[in-house]
Amino acid sequence: MRIPAVLLSRPVRIGVPGAVLAVFLLIAPSSFDGYGISLMSKALALGVLAVSVSILAGYSGLPTMGQAAPFLVGAYTAGVMSTHGHTVGVLQLLCGTLVAAAFAAATGLVAIRTRGVAFLMTTLALGELTVTAAGEWRSLTGGTDGMYGITPIQPLPGMAALSSDRSIYWFVLTATAIVIAVVWWVLRSPVGKLLLACRDHEARMRSAGHPVTRYQWLAYVAAGALAGFGGVLMCTVNAYVSPDDGSFSNSALVLLAVVLGGATSPLGALLGAGLIVATQDWLSGPFPGHGPLLLGLMFIVAVYALPDGVAGIRFRAPKRRGGPA
């Protein structure tokens, strides 16, 4: 069966699912209870993290297994601010984003030196180090028990604190919509083309005179900032942060979300994150303890059934010291 061309045109391919998603996000809360709404909030926060992975893995050819680390940094920034009485949501988002960006700027200097699987493993190692530090730095982070009973935020100075799951959802949705729009706008600009070109053929970019390492470092920092933004949102949703938020499996799950969503689509990454939250927290409800099993099956199905999504995450062509010509 041939699909009519009009259905494949870009506005239709992106606009229709986008519109459906938007309608769902706006309408669904009215028919959901607090649990369903908070799951949606969680999915959005995780979705922002997934979008940051899509920038790295999908656009820049840097498949990361440690993006939960800047996410964790953002979440802790929000937690620490709350304990010091800074409960303005917008301010927390700003600071969490900046601190995570600074964190990514430092770790990026290390990670960006590596390629392909080595990058995967370096980010994994950096992630594990971050989780360890979060558990050990007790005076700041509260240690392995995490930070709990975090004060509800006020979106803007002078506004009332967000007391219900519903109000938190609207805040998270607004913040996510704004940041995704910004990401979308940037990736659709020539900047996105630069990143895609680096992913397609890094050596050619260098030969053409592009400072590829600088681009990728900047992408790494931007993705880190975005992950930090997601972390702040997650802290708002859960009112709780612990080192476990930065775990290796969180990083792997968002990579799966990106695969499910099609590698270079922010909207897809958001949907992928939604699917993962639905599986992990909702579908597995009747089979307590078997959430990992369902996720494992999802990984397996995704690898075989969605080759495009996986292939979209391409390894950077490694520096090859070629043989004699």
Partner: protein, 401 residues
């Protein structure tokens, strides 16, 4: 060519969606509650425990103790047919937040029982408290800001150490080397011990006079830590370990330079499956616990015989007993809360509860901390019939405030 790629993608997405939908259908049919109520309106009780992740070895006992009480009480608590909603706290903390929210918002549970890890308590209790749902906690208890809806069936994390400290100060002829895992529960456990022990005149043999914390969960080999014990001249070891750490520690201890140095510990080190895995290596370990299966009381006999009947003649671990008590406390509180119990009424009923008759002996909840005021026992791992068991060899202090 392009269109065929898209259609592959569409088909694949549909396939994934179909799998999801099937699974959703499966779960919705399995959640439909069996409402064949005898007596009053059926009620839902939530039970959060570790069924996957790094604490999963500890989880099943929490579930099994509660389930055993229901099995032996006609699936009823306080005259109401109970549907148990089980949730997985996985690695604790963030994973438990949606689980608790689901129990409260969707299942409208009357109370939440269980909880293995201390991070889970910190994450769940604020949510439950905000919703007015009591949490009847069966794992270790950390310090919590607002305890109005938290009721602990087990102990304060510092209690085992506090009970053992003075005893060791009096009975160990020399210094003691103290170990624990590097996480909050470990710090609390060891703080309980070192404070009570040094207050009673004891001196730690560790470098710098502070307890040693081993990296968690990655330590599998304790030999290097143990070789320091011998060198320190310590006359005994005190430690707190659970699960896999406990097994590795005991095995390594029994084959190290420190094997002649007596091992004292919080009782979890030789509880349930851990003791089985350790085998002869555990012989002679002296532990403190608020329970021993050989306590002679009617309540304990009922519990032990029910457990061993269900689980191949095994002795019940303390954790299962806490969970049994959680069910028992809820049973009484729900009965008191009237024909249409609300979470608030149940919470108030628990608050008003006096002496609780339990397999461990009678105990009551502290008005301040909502933790049991209870007696601690000194136990030793010895042959009891054909198998090693935690045999009660004496009483320690009654602890709780």
């Amino acid at each position: 060519m392009f269109s065929s790629r898209v259609s592959v993608r569409l088909r694949a997405a549909v396939a994934v969606g179909a799998v999801t939908a099937l699974a959703a259908a499966g779960c919705s049919s399995s959640t439909s509650s069996k409402s064949s109520a005898k007596g009053d309106a059926p009620i839902n009780i939530g039970l959060i425990t570790a069924l996957s992740g790094s604490n999963q070895a500890l989880g099943p006992d929490h579930l099994n103790g509660f389930q055993l009480y229901l099995d032996t009480h006609n699936d009823m608590l306080g005259g109401h047919k109970v549907t148990l909603k089980v949730g997985d706290e996985a690695n604790g903390g963030a994973a438990a937040v949606p689980v608790a929210k689901k129990m409260i918002e969707q299942d409208h549970v009357l109370a939440i029982a269980g909880i293995v890890a201390t991070p889970t308590i910190q994450a769940v209790v604020p949510i439950a408290t905000a919703a007015g749902v009591p949490v009847v906690n069966t794992g270790g208890r950390p310090t919590v800001k607002d305890v109005s809806h938290l009721w602990t069936m087990s102990f304060m994390s510092t209690d085992p150490g506090s009970s053992m400290g003075p005893y060791m100060a009096q009975n160990v002829p020399g210094s003691v080397y103290a170990f624990g895992p590097d996480y909050q529960g470990g710090y609390d456990q060891l703080r309980g011990f070192t404070e009570a022990y040094t207050k009673a005149g004891g001196k730690l043999a560790n470098d710098g006079g502070k307890a040693t914390f081993t990296p968690f969960p990655n330590t599998t080999d304790f030999t290097p830590f143990l070789s320091k014990v011998k060198a320190s001249g310590a006359k005994a070891i005190y430690c707190f370990y659970t699960g896999q750490n406990a097994i590795d520690f005991v095995k390594d201890w029994s084959q190290s330079d420190a094997k002649d140095i007596p091992l004292y510990a919080a009782g979890f080190i030789t509880e349930g499956g851990a003791l089985k895995a350790e085998g002869q290596a555990a012989a002679g370990i002296i532990t403190t616990m608020n329970y021993s299966p050989d306590i002679s009381s009617a309540a304990n006999r009922q519990f032990v015989s029910a457990w061993s009947q269900k689980y191949n003649g095994e002795a019940p671990p303390a954790t299962a007993m806490y969970s049994w008590d959680a069910a028992s406390v809820l049973d009484q509180a729900i009965a008191k809360a009237g024909p249409n119990p609300t979470p608030d009424a149940v919470n108030a009923a628990i608050k008003g509860m006096g002496q609780i008759d339990s397999p461990r002996g009678t105990w009551q909840l502290s008005a301040d901390t909502h933790v049991p005021v209870q007696k601690w026992y000194l136990r030793k791992v010895e042959m009891d019939g054909t198998a090693l068991a935690n045999v009660k060899i004496g009483d320690l202090a009654t602890i709780g405030s």
